[in-house]
Symmetry: C2
Subunit: 408 residues, 2 copies
């Protein structure tokens, strides 16, 4: 199957949109508020599993445990357990023991082998995760698993201060049959907080070997979750998990790599954009397209620098078509850049090209910046074909208020 | 002379504190407000000159012209001309011609050779600098040059939205005689704005060869101006200039390198800290000391990541002793880091050490964070001796307000 032979139908749904998955989201008392704080996602069949983990060197206990189990299973998993309200990070040996107990409880509850489990935690760091609460919560969730509303319940249970749950699903039809991909994610937000964390789980009922799933997941994450930034921070707990259980008739092999990436992207992109839209204090979604880089990697480096620039993000917040800040960030991004050939476009309005500013067009660009969805284009002027897209949000006083609140 | 043989006496003063320098600051109409916008600093004698320029690839016309003249003079200069209110950046060929006219006017007004001049501009970018205003302003300033109040006037004339002028001076006494170093700087702030720009001029009446001056200036800038961050941005116009005119009896040769660095540091550090204190929306000065890095460079990379972290800067603003954010940033800084051996200190309070949080000390740490001057220590836990210090300020809602204001 190739991408052009297939139709992609975006639809409501979450991790149970593909066949053979059940999920639950319950409250087990980790959050003092009594809000849902434990999600369990179970595949009826053994599933190929892939994962992308935070590159932060201060890795939380659940990250270490998930890596170990995934290696031990040779890339297979049947159950994912996630708690919110406590990140189980910077918690030492005791935290590692709790993470292992959490994984063992999830594997047992799903009737899976010890290694066929992935876990994640999100919330405050440096605080012990209550072992009894999380393991008895997993037992309770296992009794509540179902396929119709379970995915939405799981999406709610992994939220911290996300303003809304994030779920997406797509059905792919093509010559080799129909399969679905579904997913849930949580984004950046915190109350007692610590750091912006993101987690996502993506499921599919296609049949995929673990190696192919891992490669396709990495590629899809690169252009979705790894192409967003709320504030340039990188947490101790970030992970994206993918499970492929083969419950549909669709068998994907190495030749279907592009198709699988595209199918995963159809779910990961709306989840990633949901994280940005729900970013702390965010009022606008900003797509940044950088072109004219020597390489795609250089274009991405420049796009990331722009996406993280407080001067750019405050200008967007104020609907100020301040193209000079975009030029200045591109110039300091550590990549090849030619001021003489550079170009800045806001919406459809070219504001700077070949050394010439067009300040009479500022009003038009400002009108675009007053929208909720904004596009910014910067050409680095090297003549190269390197291109990349990043998504970010604006920087508002509300971001400062949320993150400056005194925690103790 | 070695450093320990000398006494360093910090005193009031600016670029005219050393003998043989005169300065002026006048209003020539570039700023619509009528505020001072042109500074001229002239040495009576030909002086060795050094300079450190922005690494931004979008370099403003005055940066290009100053580099060219400094190379042509073989590291000598007699006059520095600086305008505020317009950065003369992204202004194409015409901007370059204006910058050259500005340099020619300054050289002529000071009776200096064509190459013995340095210029700088700061303010809005992408807007043409009025050639008549700046050149006739230089003529007028040349008539107003004097040594008693001229330095302070120059410090005022280079301000944009700096909340206060920044000047510093030190007198050095030692076996080989007495010499002085003086300086002025402007920091991050903008009205119609564009980007945070910093400029500084440092003068000394010691006799120093150009090569030694350049090496010592680079070293002093590395631990002062290059060790501060308001928002991680890097402008198109940043420069630091140093002039050494030999008007005192002190002759410094290669063996006095450490002494010269120390003397320059005595002036550059208070100027740099003034820039941070006057940073946009800043209410606190934060010193970040990173230790336990594999190398000094790795320690500085981690310190810079912490200094630029919006989550750290908002936590400081809210007096939240949120050590987890410091660990998370150190872990993502791209340098060697050991969570098991890492340590976080706020003020005198150890909050995290050898995997153990000390959250009962949060109240004590929070009291320190309520001060105007804050110290944060992070040990990367590698066992190495790499260390670095950075200074930054907190991130406040006022920063957002200043930078989100609609410019058009």
């Amino acid at each position: 199957m190739t991408v052009s032979d297939c139709t992609f139908t975006q639809r409501d749904g979450a991790v149970c949109a593909p066949a053979g998955f059940r999920a639950a989201g319950i409250a087990c008392g980790i959050k003092k508020s009594g809000a849902p704080d434990l999600a369990l996602i179970v595949s009826e069949l053994s599933a190929a599993a892939g994962a992308v983990f935070t590159l932060n060197k201060a890795q939380a206990a659940p990250v270490l445990v998930s890596k170990e189990r995934l290696a031990a299973s040779g890339g297979r998993a049947r159950v994912v357990a996630i708690n919110s309200g406590c990140a189980n990070a910077c918690t030492g040996e005791d935290g590692l023991a709790t993470a292992n107990a959490m994984a063992d409880a999830a594997a047992a509850a799903a009737g899976a082998g010890r290694a066929e489990v992935l876990i994640a935690s999100t919330g405050v760091i440096g605080v012990a995760l209550d072992r009894n609460k999380v393991t008895s919560g997993i037992l309770e969730a296992a009794g509540a698993l179902e396929a119709v509303t379970g995915g939405a319940a799981a999406a709610r249970a992994i939220m911290t201060t996300d303003p809304f749950p994030k779920a997406a699903a797509v059905t792919v039809d093509g010559p080799a049959g129909r399969f679905s991909v579904g997913g849930i994610a949580k984004g950046s937000g915190m109350i007692e907080p610590m750091m912006a964390t993101m987690l996502a789980v993506v499921t599919t009922d296609a049949s995929v070997a673990p190696g192919l799933l891992q490669r396709a997941l990495t590629a899809a994450v690169d252009v979705t979750f790894n192409a967003i930034s709320v504030d340039g921070e990188c947490s101790t707990n970030d992970c994206v998990f993918a499970l492929a259980n083969g419950a549909s008739d669709a068998m994907l092999s190495d030749g279907d790599y592009d198709l699988l990436v595209e199918a995963l992207r159809h779910v990961c992109e709306p989840l990633a954009l949901g994280i940005v839209r729900g970013g702390e204090g965010a009022t606008k979604l900003v797509a940044i397209d950088v072109t004219g880089g020597r390489t795609n990697a250089e274009a991405k480096q420049a796009a990331r620098a722009i996406a993280n620039s407080p001067l750019v993000k405050t200008a967007v917040h104020g609907a100020d078509p301040n193209w000079g800040r975009l030029i200045a960030v591109a110039g300091r991004a550590g990549v090849e850049f030619s001021l003489e050939q550079a170009r800045v476009v806001i919406g459809d309005t070219v504001l700077f090209e070949r050394g010439t500013p067009f300040d009479d067009r500022a009003e038009q660009a400002s009108r675009h910046l007053q929208q909720a969805e904004i596009s910014i284009g910067v050409d680095l002027g090297t003549g190269g074909r390197g291109a990349a897209r990043m998504w970010t949000c604006d920087l508002s006083a509300e971001y400062v208020r949320i993150n400056a609140e005194y925690r103790t």
